[in-house]
């Protein structure tokens, strides 16, 4: 097989050299890709500048209470976004808690355990989940998953485990929990596909070496596959988290839209993206800049999460 690939490569190279295209193509290519790269930076910078500029009046008038107060009453000119920040983080955490083990399980199953004929269709189906629009997830959550599946679980949790603050009742249906579960389903395909690719990239030689040392399949996965893939898996999880933090419509439909900070995940809450979606249309004046401000804070949180992920990955690669 290796020989054939070499032949193909050599053929392609010869054809290119015959045409003499390389001399002109290289600089043109450099310029085109350069423009593409720059465009991303410019768009990003433009967005940051414009949104921050729009939000400055509210940052100035509210000060730190914009981030640390939960009092959001546009009619009185009070904008405290803490409940939204809290809701975004809680729903994303619930989503990660459910999605990470599941995705990792699916990815390991598909790369290490599943019979060959299952791998293709299952991987394909998981990828297909990523193509479903988020509004469909949201509506499906409200009309199908919530009444049929989540509500009974939530009620059971609140009745049996209600003495634990995070499961305190009454279970309201639309809640952090409902939003978190649907978010989990939404981020599973991303994390799964990335993890699958990462696990596939673990050299067969190392796996065989583990087997040769007498390792069982589980020991091989623990000893040879996971340590190799750790950095990549964290990257995959962070991409999933990024989507969960920014998801708008599905959360707006499911979270219950109540600006409150409560320990119980069975109670309604709010999220940053959802409040923007719900209120922007009819907002005027300070309210608009406050909502844009929420967007700026969300952007900030996303950056912090990404940087943290990078640092984590670097540390791991070094050690």
């Amino acid at each position: 097989m290796g020989e054939r690939r070499d032949l193909v490569l050599r053929g392609g190279l010869q054809r290119l050299m015959k045409r003499g295209a390389g001399r002109l193509a290289d600089p043109v290519f450099a310029v085109v890709t350069g423009i593409a790269g720059l465009a991303v930076l410019i768009i990003l910078a433009y967005m940051v500048v414009v949104t921050t500029y729009t939000a400055v009046p509210v940052f100035r008038s509210q000060g730190w209470s914009f981030i640390f107060s939960t009092d959001w009453s546009p009619s009185e000119g009070k904008f405290g976004a803490f409940a939204f920040i809290y809701g975004t983080i809680i729903t994303s955490l619930i989503a990660l808690l459910i999605a990470v083990p599941l995705s990792l399980g699916v990815a390991l199953f598909l790369t290490e355990i599943a019979p060959r004929w299952i791998r293709g269709p299952v991987a394909y189906l998981v990828d297909l989940l990523a193509a479903v629009p988020s509004v469909v997830y949201g509506l499906w959550g409200v009309f199908v998953l919530l009444p049929g599946f989540l509500q009974p679980i939530a009620t059971w949790l609140s009745v049996k485990l209600g003495w634990i603050p995070i499961f305190a009742g009454p279970a309201t249906g639309l809640s952090f929990f409902g939003a978190g579960v649907v978010l989990a389903i939404m981020i599973i395909p991303i994390i799964t596909s990335l993890c699958r690719e990462i696990l596939k990239a673990v050299p067969v030689g190392e796996k065989n070496a583990a087997f040769a040392l007498g390792a069982t399949r589980w020991e091989m996965i623990r000893g040879a596959v996971l340590p190799r893939a750790k950095a990549g898996i964290i990257g995959a999880v962070m991409l999933g988290l990024g989507r969960a933090l920014g998801e708008t419509i599905a959360v707006a439909l499911l979270v219950g839209s109540r600006a409150q900070v409560t320990a119980s995940i069975l109670q309604p809450g709010y999220s940053m993206a959802a409040v923007i979606a719900n209120q922007f249309q009819e907002a005027t004046g300070d309210h608009v800049s406050a909502l844009v401000g929420v967007g700026v804070v969300l952007f900030g949180i996303t950056i912090i999460v990404n940087v943290a992920a990078r640092v984590l990955v670097w540390r791991m690669v070094e050690s």
Partner: protein, 387 residues
Amino acid sequence: MINSNQYKSNRYKDGVLLVCRRALVLVVVLAVTVGVFGLLTSRSPAGRGGSLDIADSSSSLQAIGSSSSPRTGLNGVGASFPQPLYLEWIGAFRDLNQGVKINYQGMGSGGGIQQLTQLTVDFGASDAPMNDEEMAAAEQAAGSRVLHIPAVFGAVVVSYNVEGLEDLKLDPDALAGIFLGDITRWDDVEIAVLNPGVALPDQAIQVAHRSDASGTTSIFTTYLSRISSRWDDTVGKGKEVKWPVGVGGQGNDGVSAVIMQQPGTLGYVELSYALESGLPVVALKNKAGNFVMPSLESTLAAGRGVDFPDDLRFDLSDAIAADAYPIVGATWILAYEKMKDPVKAEALKAFLNWALENGAEIAEELHYAPLPEGLKSRALEQVNSIH
């Protein structure tokens, strides 16, 4: 480990099998998707336009955009609550008058007022009348008076889900008490007094409200502000307010889903939606002291005996007529008396004349209450002053 020769010989077969399997999976998934989509669209009530509006508006926009077209194009933006009705009216009017194309986008009342003031549209629409400041800004921008032309009345109904409970009556105090969070249980004395002989369960009340900014919320909170000074002081009225209690669902769909799924829930939805979906509704005590069920007739009755001001910026909340349903609001078309383009002025006049004179039947089909005669003639006076 798989032997590489064996692997090669199997690869072709595997590939073909894989492709077949993938195709099969794709077909199944597509079929399911189409089925679900069909279900979703068939169960969505008349209150939502969906993709139809988008197609409609984009094609009319094109017609207006091309200056070579001899047709007249009118552009309107505003309230989403009457959007289904306006689209029907526009469609019927276009069938009768080939020359006039009208585009309406229900992006919200606030947007309607804003775009009218910025002169980017030919008419606006709003579920609440413009306030004096907004009027002044618009009139200064256009150099013309702004007209409020009422189109139809709409009502907001209170719906609930309590097992075995069919006829629930509430008065203003009890309703405000529930939404303020003072009354938290179904067997509260204040509710029991209004429903003698009815077995009320010992169950917590969960309140459901709209989470998105909406005219429905505006009509509902305007009513609560009218009947409860405590509500007026602590919460106030608006398209979205800071609710003391409850969970927020998105749209009428979202609120009714909460009501239907959660026993013990009480919430509000717009009349047309409640009539379409058959939710149980509360009979409310009106100003005259009668318990009135929401219906087109009782909505229409709210306009009886109201002293309409000259500029037609009126309020139908808690109306005085004996058979009036109390939570009623109007929706208005906003236009300038003096329009820059006389051709457009004539077109708008023709459309509004037609809609007010002949649109009642369509309105009733869609569960909007058409204007009573007296108010209709006053609205037509406003329309005919456009030039």
